[in-house]
Amino acid sequence: MAHAATHDHHDEHHGAPSNFFTRWFMSTNHKDIGTLYLIFSLLMFFIGGSFAMVIRAELFKPGMQLVQPYFFNEMTTMHALVMIFGAIMPAFVGLGNWMIPLMIGAPDMALPRMNNLSFWILPFAFALLLSTLFLPGGGPAGGWTMYPPLSLQSNTVAYVVFAIHLMGISSIMGAINIIATILNMRAPGMDLLKMPVFVWSWLITAFLLIAVMPVLAGAVTMLLTDKYFGTSFFNAAGGGDPVLYQHVFWFFGHPEVYIMILPAFGIISEVIPTFSRKPIFGYKAMVFAIASIAFLSFIVWAHHMFAVGLPLGAEIFFMYATMLIAVPTGVKVFNWVSTMWGGSMTFETPMLFAIGFVILFTIGGFSGLMLALVPADFQYHDTYFVVAHFHYVLVTGAAFSIMAATYYWLPKWTGRMYSEFWGKMHFWNSVVWVNVLFFPQHFLGLAGMPRRIPDYNVAFANFNMISSIGGFLFGASQLIFLGVIIHCVFFSKKKATDRVWEGAKGLEWTVPSPAPHHTFALPPVIHDDELAHGHVED
């Protein structure tokens, strides 16, 4: 194999630097930086999760027991910001960092130093964001959407805005790096249409990121100047309009939610074929579907604004465009099922999470479709029905896919097998409790419980209590996840083979486990039958 030849006598120079500081703070290595991203995102997942626990604890029963309403709002806001920008997005970037070069036969990311900068901005950005909780003015409490004029009432707007600027810069640089890597660093013979679906999904996601993160930066910059410099963008008295902010925000915000799901689609499209031992059904359709979803994501933003009083024509346009997204997404779901059909399936932990993903994400998609129907959304909007919708797509969608990916590639990263038993424990606990947590929220929404409230009428008590119990247990289940990872990294005795999974195909499985510090310093020779999609002809 090609990598072996190029690396044998280079490992002394090219092994990981032994100095801890140099290795982790000054790295230019995609694997180390990927690891940093993954650790960071796990940490953030736990921080964001603790905030969610505060929310669920306060909502456990009617009456105010634990926190002041203002603090509750800070929790809701921070929970979302930390989960979205701190947990989910960096996790995907970490996975991309680790796997994309391995999957396309590249020696590293195209711009390794910038890669390290993209990562290191994040801890600082979050320090800035989280520090507001301890400042006299208090943290942001206007929801993660930060609608003015409410968000401008906070005294720490500047901290939040600059934190978001930093995150934006990090994401944009990360995305540029990924695009340049995919377009410029593929080994000879790795044609675009032979790339793994995960790589495709990231290529398209990176494009979305570069297109919309600057728009978010623009939106929050306008908040900043409205707050501190007397501009009137969002002030009707000065000829502006608070709704303008919402348009700009959601022009970013909607593609943003697809930024959090397209890489997930990619991951699932790797995992299901591996454990079905059958090539992915409709490879080109899969790629095309991702591209269509990305395209459509730019013209549906106002479906978050059906109740702001848009002109009739606008409501109708955004409703139709939104509904259209169900079609390419459906294609993906059907293709996953067809991949399983006629396969030879086994159900290791990654596969379990992938199956959980397909079912539960689809449920979240269905509620999304219901939200798209404007008259019905007049009722659903800003209720727990929406909260249920987006946690199905985000937790059992994005987060489950990240868990699937972790189990799937962990042996490749560490060279050791995780404990299949505890992995399965993690899965079954998660999948049961997450439904206990979020399914009742549909009923709450339909029964009329608004979101972002710290207290509620007793009519909502039962479902809230169920949801909270599910929440605590789902949260606790994540401790198993942590345990499995720590065990695998530090204690597991069971060595992983290079291929790891019987049905695994693709370049990443041709390098040793653990993957050496440097791989593919010289481009590998690609054999089509090594690839998952070496022989697409449709």
């Binding site: 608070p242 031992r277 059958k278 009739l312 079609v327 459906g330 008259p375």
Partner: protein
């Protein structure tokens, strides 16, 4: 979801049911196929993987069938939406203004006649407000009107409207964005400072209908309920006359505030931070 009590409110209700049905059906099909696959094609049962990876026929079917389903749904919702958008021919106008954290109602006109001086603030009732204080030790279950628990859903002064009347609401806000929502009326509409939104209702059944502010508007967002009392036309006429008489006597109710004015004092001790209203838009220091 409630079916509601107005001419229009069944629209979202039926739409919800139809969409739910459609999704359940598709769900059963997809998940059913998946479970069959998981059962039949498992390695432990000796399944051997096949090699095929597409089927044009199938792919065409599962792109076009969803499209057809969506067309039906889109057609239904467009109808509902269009009828909602038509606020003309109303027999009454009520102006609703959201404040941190209470609502103001001004009666603008009724049966073609302008109404002068009828308007009032409506905020969380005393009992709920005491109960909802942090660790108040009071029991939310004890907050009742008759048999109905009204914890956080009752106000000091409800909006009184007649039934069988097409009422146009003009909705705005004085400080930040709020959203006026009574589930039984079938819709919510954002109340945006400096902007007026319109909506309408025609209540068919007399009764008391409760709702809440549905847009995060600061710390007491959860504590600004809405109560609509729908009464017969005769009762309403009487009520209105009373209000008009009352408004003549005292030195008039506060004039309708024009656009972003400072927020009224908050209902509880707010952190200083939450009290800067939009009006305090004086340029910050710029060094």
């Amino acid at each position: 979801m409630t079916r509601g009590v107005t001419e229009w409110s069944p629209e979202p209700y039926f739409l919800n049911n139809v969409a739910l049905g459609v999704c359940t059906a598709i769900g059963l099909l997809v998940f059913g196929a998946m479970f069959i696959a998981m059962f039949r094609f498992r390695k432990s049962r000796g399944a051997v993987a096949e090699k095929w990876s597409h089927n044009t026929m199938l792919e065409v079917v599962w792109t076009t069938v969803p499209v057809l389903i969506l067309i039906v749904l889109a057609w239904m919702s467009t109808g509902g939406l269009t009828s909602f958008a038509n606020t003309t021919d109303s027999q009454m106008t009520v102006k609703v203004t959201g404040y941190q954290w209470k609502w103001r109602y001004d009666y603008v006109d009724y049966q073609g006649k302008a109404i002068d001086g009828v308007g009032f603030m409506s905020k969380l009732d005393e009992q709920s407000n005491d109960t909802r204080q942090l660790r108040s030790g009071l029991d939310p279950n004890a907050v009742k009107v008759g048999d109905e628990n009204t914890y956080l859903l009752n106000v000091d002064k409800p909006l009184v409207v007649p039934v069988d009347t097409k009422i146009r609401f003009v909705i705005t806000a004085g400080d930040v964005i709020h959203s006026w929502w009574v589930p039984a009326l079938g819709w919510k509409m954002d109340a945006i400072p400096g902007i007026v939104n319109a909506a309408w209702t025609n209540i068919k059944v007399p009764g008391t209908y409760r709702g809440q502010c549905a847009e995060l508007c600061g710390q007491d967002h959860g504590f600004m309920p809405i109560v609509v009392k729908a009464v017969s036309k005769a009762e309403f006429a009487q009520w209105l006359a009373q209000q008009q008489a009352a408004s003549k006597a005292p030195p008039a109710t506060p004039a309708t505030p024009a656009s972003p004015t400072p927020a009224p004092a908050s209902t509880t001790a707010a952190p200083a931070t939450a009290q800067v209203a939009t009006a305090a838009k004086a340029p910050g220091k710029q060094g």
